[in-house]
């Protein structure tokens, strides 16, 4: 090594091409590794977020559906009994109508019977009294109509209803239904890139129809 005139070592001449290539390669490797970690974290985050979203949506749908089912058949004015209307009508495959005289004795300010409130009034012409629930297998969504049009209650799910009589046997006889099992399988919309799978969660609820529960001394 010969000292330069300025007193600096000749090594200050700069990096050689080899050094540059090696260091660049190392940097690329490090960046790649970091990127991979970040990417995996991002995927995992998105995946968890997606699972949480479908879980919350399915859970909210289940809660709402169970609330309607619990009150099915409420009929203190004997309107449903008189007119042979069952608490739950089986309209088709996974398509039901939940009947319940819930409200209506206090007219709404505008006179709209749909918006009437108060105690049951002996009719089923108010909101929440004829609740139609339908699972659409083509669109994979759960549709709800509480009295003012169909809305989508939850998407990307499979839903199934099973009906039981007082003896615990599965039944398709509307008047015999005292208990309903609702099963929902909700799926994430996108495939998990890490696993290549669609995540799913299963919710199951069993609801006793309070009006049909064993009540001695009912007429």
């Amino acid at each position: 090594m010969t000292p330069s005139r300025s007193g600096f070592h000749t090594c200050s001449r700069g990096f050689t091409l080899i050094e540059m290539l090696v260091s660049s390669a190392v940097l690329v490797l490090i960046a790649g590794a970091l990127g991979s970690i970040l990417s995996q974290s991002q995927h995992s985050y998105k995946s968890q977020q997606s699972i949480l979203e479908v879980t919350q949506e399915a859970r909210a749908a289940m809660d709402q559906l169970c609330a309607y089912l619990r009150q099915a058949g409420n009929d203190p004015q004997a309107y449903m009994r008189t007119n042979n209307i069952p608490p739950i009508e089986l309209l088709g495959v996974d398509h039901i109508r939940i009947n319940s005289d819930i409200t209506g004795s206090v007219p709404a300010a505008g006179g709209d019977p749909l918006e009437a409130t108060g105690d049951p009034d002996g009719s089923l012409d108010n909101l929440y009294e004829r609740v139609e629930v339908r699972y659409n297998p083509l669109l994979e969504n759960l549709q709800l109509d509480i009295g003012h049009g169909v809305e989508v209650l939850a998407e990307n799910l499979y839903c199934d209803f099973t009906f039981f009589d007082i003896n615990g046997n599965v039944t398709a006889v509307e008047d015999d239904i005292v208990r309903v099992r609702v099963e929902m399988v909700a799926e994430t919309e996108d495939i998990d890139l890490q696993t290549g799978k669609i995540h799913s969660i299963t919710l199951e609820s069993e609801v006793m129809l309070r009006s049909q529960s064993f009540d001695l001394f009912a007429n």
Binding site: S12, L38, L52, A60, Q71, N74, T117, G118, L216, F217
Partner: protein
């Protein structure tokens, strides 16, 4: 390699940037998770609040057995008021609904009842069924319950006429320590409200100590319905008498128990049969009257009589038809009665087999009345006693000093024999023969049989009859959850 020292800051920079990125990502995930946990907590608490309300409903509904609904409606409880809230105007529909709540929904949502603030005032509330501070539950929540009279036409919300009341329960669940909330630093309660319409069946609200249902009657034993002059059938009300008084032979009655200034609508013997075209209970009444000899007539006393005095004996069919109690005419339907009996058997405290010869212990007391169901013939004696509701499907024979306080139903064979010494009933007795029609599965009424002899005592007591049917589970006519959308706004 001096130059490497100059480049060491690059590593620090890279590490710092990566750390910041990772920290941001981590924080974002933590915040998202916290939001999800918050939503889950509140969903869980909402469910718990509703279940707390349901717990309250079931508990209180069961506790309403053995109560007088009017007495409950007139009872008062001091309920603390912890915060100011608006109350709908007096006499408005909204006020009717608001007052069904045991506590104001706003208080239910906001107050920490485990450690409440200083009370602003105390409200006196009718029909409260829990302590003013609510009933705490193991879940950490609590519930309140209150009954309110329906509009039963008497214009009085503290007097029940038709046996129907509203029961409203409010359940709350407070977030636990460390649980985060969407209200930020303000902790609130989840609230569930359930309203049910309950009905006490009053089919058996008899108006006589001895009611016989049927087209006619025949003796159970011997040639006559009545024998001797020592029996006593007293159709006046005996509001203060107890089982001990009955056993001790102490009795006192009143002719105007309801205090309206007129004699009560009760008789010594009610002969009832729903047969409008055939004279209703008149043939039965006439048979009973024809069986009484001159010395027995004044052994049957009461407020009402078809004979202008004693015996206090009447065809009570029209009284049942016109009774303001809407359940009274259920007795005309034998199938209803038998369905009622069958259901009652399922909740009986004691079941006696056919042919039981009972004595030596008791079948309930005034303080702890019970439902006793006998599947067939039953002999009660041994100087023992009972209280509550007694149902006998075969022959019922009172003997050897047996005393009963409450309501007795002798149905099925409809055969009643009260010939022992020092035997007594305080309350009411119904005797009816029912016949099963295998063809259509219905029931109809036949001709009952009875014999009253010895020094048998029948003392009517409205409260005693109520002691019997009050043991029956109260019926649930309606059950619904209350949420703002279906409640008149207040």
């Amino acid at each position: 390699m001096q130059h490497l020292k100059d480049e060491s800051g690059v590593s620090l920079l890279i590490v710092t940037i990566v750390s910041i990125l990772m920290a941001l990502l981590g924080m974002s995930m933590i915040f998202d998770s916290m939001t999800e946990v918050t939503i889950s907590n509140e969903l869980e608490n909402q469910k718990k609040a509703r279940l707390n309300a349901e717990t309250g409903f079931s508990t209180v509904k069961d506790a309403l057995r053995q109560t007088n609904l009017t007495a409950v409606l007139q009872s008062t409880t001091d309920v603390p008021r912890y915060m100011n809230y608006s109350v709908p105007g007096a006499g408005t529909v909204a006020e009717d609904y608001f007052l069904r709540n045991p506590i104001a929904p706003k208080e239910a949502m906001n107050i920490d009842f485990e450690s409440p603030p200083a009370r602003l005032a105390t409200r006196t509330v009718n029909g409260f069924l829990t302590p003013g501070e609510g009933t705490p539950l193991a879940s950490g929540g609590r519930y309140w319950a209150k009954i309110t009279d329906n509009d039963d036409g008497d214009g009085n919300l503290t007097t029940d006429v038709d046996g129907i009341v509203y029961l409203r329960t409010i359940g709350i669940q407070r977030l636990g320590a460390g649980q985060i909330t969407t209200y930020g630093g303000t902790v609130k309660n989840s609230v569930g409200i359930i309203q049910s319409t309950l009905k006490r069946d009053q089919t058996l609200a008899a108006k006589a100590p001895f009611t016989i249902y049927g087209p006619n009657a025949v003796p159970s034993q011997g040639a006559n319905l009545f024998a001797g002059n020592s029996f006593n059938i007293d159709g006046f009300d005996h509001p203060t008498m107890t089982l001990a008084d009955l056993q001790a032979g102490i009795h006192s009655h009143t002719t105007d128990a309801d205090g309206d200034g007129f004699p009560d609508d009760t008789a010594g013997i009610d002969a009832v049969f729903d047969n409008a075209g055939g004279g209703d209970g008149t043939p039965l009444r006439d048979t009973i009257h024809g069986d009484l000899n001159g010395g027995q007539l004044d052994n049957i006393e009461g407020n009402q009589s078809d004979y202008g005095g004693e015996p206090s004996l009447r065809d009570g069919t029209d009284r049942v038809r016109n009774d303001p109690n809407p359940d009274a005419t259920n007795i005309f339907n034998a199938s209803y009665l038998m369905n009622f009996i069958t259901n009652t058997a399922a909740v009986a405290d004691v079941t006696l087999a056919d042919g039981t010869n009972f004595g030596g212990s008791d079948l309930g007391t005034d303080a702890a009345p019970q439902i006793t169901y006998c599947e067939g013939d039953c002999r009660l004696g041994g100087n023992s006693s009972g209280a509550g509701l007694l149902i006998v499907r075969g022959e019922l024979r009172f003997q050897a000093g047996f005393s009963y306080h409450g309501l007795i139903l002798v149905v099925g064979e409809g055969d009643f024999n009260m010939t022992g010494s020092n035997v007594g009933i305080l309350g009411g007795l119904l005797v009816a023969k029912t016949i099963y029609n295998a063809g259509d599965g219905t029931w109809s009424y036949g001709t009952p049989s009875f014999t009253v002899a010895g020094n048998s005592n029948f003392y009517y007591q409205e409260g005693g009859v109520g002691l019997g049917y009050g043991l029956l589970p109260i019926r649930k006519l309606s059950w619904r959850e209350v949420y703002p959308e279906i409640e008149p706004p207040y």
